[in-house]
């Protein structure tokens, strides 16, 4: 147990060390790019290997503890570690080609590249830190740190608009997360009065054990703060205001991490509290809140998706919608609802990463995110066009892709809980999203391209990661491998029963 628990420490150490190396590389001069790419590639590969190893151990042992209980990985955390590791690897792979292009065109210089890779791994580190923290204060610190780690990536290009987006991001999320701090303190003070041990009462595993003894009124209040606080970070309506700017201004692989992974980490924090609060006061109260925020997010985002003319902003609003679906799934509850929500979290991160990376390729090709200019991709870059089309279909929730399955499961869970009309309403909102993305394909993929765009696909290295994402997206659309379904079922059990 102890030996394998050390694996969690390695999972934290590796991105941190890679990050430091990347920052150090700015002193290297001409060889910096090669060094950075090599270190980066080793870093993401090790991360992926460790991730899969940790998941394997979690599946065998049930859970892992490290550093006298400060870090903890159960099946729930493993789901999110999987998302971070897998998406970190694929987006990291994509970053290499994308940042090379930015270097060639002078968007960033060598120091900028070092900053990029440094913060990229620091960002991964903070996200892993968040999901592995058993200590609720550290978990809060982790979420706050993700903001700081990624804000520099959002503002990387130093344009007026990207700096504004970064500033807005830091400001709104810090204020939001301050609410979560208040919630955290409430839970801590309450658990301290029950557990009577300053250290243990901060550990999530201990709090859950004593959840039934916690004060119902305080827990209710705490959950509201937690939901607003971490909900800001997760991009739930109406606290999502930072999200479209940050996601559209960041370099594409970072947009993809923000949207595909970071939002999930904030949701993870909410789920941890949802479990505690559910045990303390029953799940009716937290479920209803999640359901309200979830459905509102879907409803609101659906219409904003429809009206966007900037492809990355459109994708950003789609993230709000999808976080809404996950929150709805959690709110509907039951084994099916939780399973659907967690599965949707994985599916959305795959599909959305694919879309953001493809939008990166579009930026390379067309030099713009404006949908009035991006036309005729089929003639310009057929393979990218194919991937964009598939990704848009997936995000729209169409078979044969994975999002279709998890959305259908969510609807099924809704009917199971007796929300027939609410589900029909949600399906109608999803129809708006569907129309928006089909229109996107119609315009961007077909039609005739602008004159100044050179024909021919972008380089192999920027296509390969997207293609791997496509395989995942299609594979999970037609089959769910049993280790994954075991993991998800196990995680759903934890959400329902506590430990």
């Amino acid at each position: 147990m102890q030996v394998s628990g050390n694996l969690l420490v390695w999972l934290l150490v590796i991105p941190f060390v890679v990050s430091l190396l990347a920052f150090w590389a700015r002193t290297l001069g001409a060889g910096a790019r090669r060094f950075l790419e090599a270190v980066h590639l080793i870093g993401i590969t090790l991360l992926l290997v460790l991730t899969l190893w940790v998941i394997k151990l979690v599946l065998i042992n049930g859970s892992l503890l490290a550093l006298s209980g400060w870090f903890y990985a159960d099946k729930l955390a493993a789901v999110f570690v999987l998302v971070i590791g897998l998406m970190g690897f694929l987006n990291g792979l994509y970053s290499i080609g994308y940042m090379r292009h930015d270097l060639v065109t002078g968007e960033v210089d060598r120091k900028g590249l070092s900053t990029y890779y440094g913060f990229f791994h620091l960002f991964l580190f903070t996200m892993i830190f968040t999901v592995l923290s058993n200590n609720i204060a550290l978990m809060w610190v982790g979420v706050e740190a993700t903001t700081l780690g990624s804000a520099f990536l959002v503002g990387l290009y130093g344009h007026k608009s990207s700096l504004e987006a970064a500033w807005k991001y830091v400001l709104i999320c810090s204020v939001g997360v301050a609410f979560a701090l208040y919630g955290t303190i409430l839970v801590y003070s309450n658990s301290f009065s029950v557990v009577q041990n300053a250290h243990d009462s901060m550990l999530w595993t201990e709090i859950v054990k004593h959840a039934r003894l916690l004060d119902p009124m305080v827990m209710k209040l705490a959950f509201v703060f937690i939901l607003i606080g971490f909900g800001t970070k997760a991009g739930l309506f109406p606290m999502h205001a930072w999200l479209p700017d940050a996601h559209s201004e960041a370099p594409s692989p970072v947009s993809s991490l923000l949207s595909g992974v970071l939002l999930k980490c904030a949701l993870f924090a909410i789920i941890r509290y949802y479990i505690v609060v559910g045990k303390a006061i029953g799940s009716a109260f937290p479920s209803t809140l999640l359901l309200i925020f979830g459905v509102l997010s879907i409803a609101f985002a659906a219409f904003f998706i429809f009206s966007q003319r900037d492809i990355k902003r459109m994708l950003a609003y789609s993230s709000v919608e999808n976080v809404g679906i996950i929150a709805t799934g959690l709110g509907l509850g039951g084994p099916l609802g939780i399973f659907a929500a967690l599965f949707h979290a994985i599916n959305h991160s795959i599909a959305k990463s694919l879309m953001f990376c493809t939008s990166g390729n579009i930026l390379i090709k067309y030099g713009t995110r404006d949908l009035d200019v991006i036309k005729g991709m089929l003639k310009v870059a057929p393979f990218t066009a194919f991937l964009l089309g598939s990704g848009a279909l997936a995000v729209a929730g169409s078979p044969p892709f994975n999002v279709f399955i998890s959305e259908l499961l969510t609807v099924t869970a809704g009917l199971n809980s007796g929300y027939l009309w609410l589900m029909i309403l949600c399906l109608l909102f999803l129809l708006v999203v569907f129309a928006a993305f089909l229109r996107l394909i119609g315009e961007a993929v077909f039609g005739s391209p602008p004159e100044n765009v050179t024909r021919g696909d972008v380089s192999f290295i920027t296509i390969l990661p997207i293609f791997l994402l496509f395989i995942l997206m299609f594979g999970l659309g037609v089959y769910i491998p049993s280790p994954l379904s075991d993991l998800l079922k196990g995680a759903a059990d934890i959400v329902l029963s506590g430990l």
Binding site: S398, L408, V411, T412, I424, L431, L438, V478, S485
Partner: protein, 479 residues
């Protein structure tokens, strides 16, 4: 048997991928080859089934003890699959001639691989719908066929076709939400996605599930109030209109309705009532819309809408207990596919050779291009139900079934009489265009018509034969 069924699904899907990967010059050959292989699978299955009559259901994708997808082989699926792969192959052959720069209406210089990729994927998805033993499978492939249809309607890529494509997919997807809800509802109440699980529902449960199913089916089969996408979809290349929007995809709706009714022993009669009334409403609407149409393809689209209403009516009547009406519905799915497919391909051949499909400009077709003229005659009389053509047999079965039930339920009797009136009316209207367009001296566009490519003539000839004999295939298998 199972492998033939899977072959019909997978062979075209693999072909679809190959068409995209291989160089453009091979696209037509690969498209024809794989559609032919799928046809062979379908034919062997038909022959094999006719010999041993062994119906069965086999689960294929099972996750956590729940069957996600399985295959059902029975007379219904074998017959419908046969039209899917047979006409699919004919269309792929016809398209080899049609999709060329020689085409006078729409010279086609690029996009042939994309066309065949969507077409082959569509054949596979259709076979997927037809064999599906689960509601989830039906839903999955329902949406897949919609996507292929969207890609093919928007094939030319101009503003108008993109808009029509979007309308088609949004409307059918909106209707599909009914099937989403029905699938989820059945799963929640029975713990199974299987079509047969409909049986385990209470009567109220069946009504809820069937209303969802009906909405989806109306959408896909362009029935009122979802009909508007079909006439707009006529901007697609004509082989697409012939295949997707006459012979096969629009049959997904009636097929799913038939499949679920067949699987559910006792369907509440109120569903039959709703289905029958809506069918006749659509029929009257479609009939009225015949008159202003001058574009041959739009006229045919409205004719498809009304013919699909016949099938809805027949299935709805079968809910009241008429086996004859159900068999009539299956026979009409089968027969109409050949007749209407032929009719559209005639329209396509006219557009290809003369550059127009406006009926008032087409005169004296028989005189100048006899093969097309004969096709026109065969298709028109088959659609309107003149013996010895196939349409007569299936319509007759539907009427007999209708009177059987009509004796007990006066409302059904009224509906069936309206249907007969529609049938007579459309006969007269088609006879009018037949006289004006086919016979007589050639008009200017027809007189200047170009040569009909061999591929097109061949397919027209095969389909003409089928409009004379398809009813015997169906009657043999249903007996």
């Amino acid at each position: 048997m199972l492998w033939y069924a899977l072959g019909s699904i997978l062979v075209p899907a693999i072909g679809s991928l190959l068409v995209l990967l291989l160089p453009e010059r091979h696209a037509k050959k690969v498209g024809q080859l794989f559609s032919f292989l799928a046809f062979v699978c379908g034919l062997l299955l038909l022959v094999g089934f006719a010999a041993d009559r062994a119906s069965f259901t086999r689960d294929l994708v099972t996750i956590g003890g729940i069957s996600f997808y399985g295959v059902t082989i029975d007379a219904l699926s074998v017959l419908v699959n046969f039209i899917v792969v047979f006409i699919g192959w004919l269309i792929c052959t016809y398209s080899a001639g049609y999709m060329s720069p020689e085409n006078r209406e729409h010279p086609i210089k690029e996009g042939v691989p994309r066309f065949y990729a969507f077409m082959l994927l569509f054949i596979g998805s259709m076979a997927g719908v037809v064999f599906s033993s689960t509601l989830l499978g039906l839903l999955f492939f329902f949406e897949m066929t919609g996507l292929c249809s969207w890609g093919l309607i928007g094939f030319y890529g101009d503003q108008k076709s993109r808009k029509s494509a979007l309308l088609a997919i949004v409307l059918t997807h909106a209707a599909a939400l009914g099937l989403y809800v029905a699938t989820a509802y059945v799963f929640v109440n029975t713990g199974s996605f299987s079509v047969n699980a409909l049986n385990e529902l209470t009567d109220t449960g069946k009504i809820i599930a069937f209303i969802g199913i009906l909405i989806a089916c109306w959408g896909k089969s362009a029935q009122f109030p979802f009909q508007s996408w079909l006439p707009e979809a006529m901007v697609a290349p004509t082989p697409v209109s012939a295949y997707l929007h006459a012979a096969s995809m629009v049959k997904v709706g009636v097929y799913i309705f038939a499949r679920t009714v067949l699987a559910t022993g006792a369907v509440p009669q109120v569903i039959g009532l709703i289905g029958a009334i809506m069918a006749v409403v659509t029929m009257i609407y479609g009939f009225i819309m015949y008159f202003p149409q001058e574009d041959m393809k739009r006229l045919l689209a409205y004719s498809t809408i009304t013919q699909l209403s016949y099938i809805f009516l027949a299935i709805s009547i079968s809910i009241y207990g008429s086996k004859m009406a159900f068999n009539g519905a299956v026979a009409h799915i089968f027969n109409h596919a050949f007749a209407k497919g032929l009719f559209f391909l005639v329209a396509g051949a006219l557009a290809y050779t003369t550059g127009t499909r406006l009926l008032p400009m087409l005169k004296g077709i028989l005189n100048k291009i006899p093969v097309v003229g004969l096709g026109f005659i065969a298709a028109a009389v088959a659609i309107t139900g003149v013996p010895p053509f196939n349409g007569f047999f299936s319509k007759f079965m539907i009427f007999v079934g209708g009177f059987e039930i009509g004796k007990l339920y006066p409302l059904i009797l009224v509906l069936i009489i309206v249907t007969i009136l529609e049938s007579v009316g459309s006969f007269i209207w088609f006879l009018k265009w037949l006289g004006a367009s086919v016979l007589g001296a050639p008009s200017e566009p027809v007189a200047g018509a170009s040569q009909v490519p061999f591929a097109i003539s061949l397919v027209l000839a095969i389909l003409m034969v089928m409009t004379l004999i398809s009813q015997y295939i169906v009657l043999t298998l249903l007996s």
